[in-house]
């Protein structure tokens, strides 16, 4: 069964490959086995998934605005 044991570092690495369905059969078994027994790596998967979920919408929470002088310049260019 030793061939099924992987480290936390390797498990995290495989989690990214899993997102694109790039795991081999063996890697799938290794990752599944590891995640079942390692609560830290389960947290890592949940937390990074959550960070990505939020990062995708970060711009809708931004208060940044294009400076007025750039807007004026562009407005003139677009109406000429």
């Amino acid at each position: 069964m030793r061939f099924l044991m992987i480290s936390c570092k390797k498990a995290g690495f495989l989690l990214s490959k899993k997102e694109e369905n790039k795991l081999t059969w063996l890697e799938k078994m290794q990752l599944k086995g590891h995640i079942t027994i390692c609560s830290f790596c389960r947290r890592f998967e949940e937390q990074t998934g959550w960070i990505i979920l939020n990062a995708k919408h970060a711009h809708t929470h931004s208060e940044a605005t294009l400076p007025e002088e750039v807007k004026t310049r562009l407005q003139n260019l677009l109406t000429d």
Binding site: W50, N54, A55, K56, A58, E63, V70, L78
Partner: protein
């Protein structure tokens, strides 16, 4: 007449702030984001005759902007000479057996991971953490998760190998998570 669906005189008032915010979280540099937004409108203006009306004016402008952002990353990827192999800060999160160290193991955040967050403070810290990533790590993170490109497209655009890609994306996630735990959870 598809062009009739475009209203260039209203572009700035309707879309400039939203496109700027969209770009800024992706390139993390205000002067650069201004340039990209400006180029987006100018390209759209020049190409307005090619607008077929298949998409809305808004999504057409976002597509142009998105392509400009990817172009920027593509050019930047070529310019970055950074060792990908070798040590990274995140290597220190693991012990000799490559298991989490006691100090760097993910802590309990006590939140619902299915629920997006609204807190402005969180997004400020997230941005700060993103900026701290190494340039290539930031590029792959944005292209993968914000622009929804797949690893093959990203490798091609940045001129990196797939094994480098998996290392970079993993390190980006390790560091972002750790930075948020340190600066947001343990605030």
């Amino acid at each position: 007449m598809a062009q009739a669906l475009l209203q260039p005189d209203k572009w700035i008032s309707n879309y400039s702030d939203a496109l700027y915010a969209y770009t800024l979280v992706r390139v993390s540099d205000s002067a650069l984001a201004e340039d990209i937004v400006q180029e987006t409108f100018l390209s759209a203006w020049k190409g307005k005759d090619s607008f077929k009306g298949d998409a809305s004016e808004k999504s057409w402008l976002y597509t142009i902007c998105k392509n400009k952002i990817i172009d920027y990353y593509r050019k930047k990827g070529r310019d970055i000479i950074q060792p990908i192999e070798g040590k990274d800060v995140s290597d220190g999160f693991f012990n000799e057996a490559e298991h989490w160290t006691t100090t760097d193991a993910p802590g309990d955040w006590g939140i619902d991971y299915q629920q997006a967050i609204e807190s402005k403070e969180f997004y400020k810290i997230l941005n700060g953490c993103k900026k701290k990533l190494q340039q290539l790590q930031q590029s792959v993170f944005v292209m993968k998760y914000l622009e929804d490109l797949d690893s093959e497209e990203i490798c091609k655009a940045l001129g990196i190998s797939s094994s480098n890609y998996w290392v970079l994306i993993h390190r980006a996630k390790l560091q972002l998570r750790a930075c948020l735990e340190k600066n947001w959870i343990n605030l």
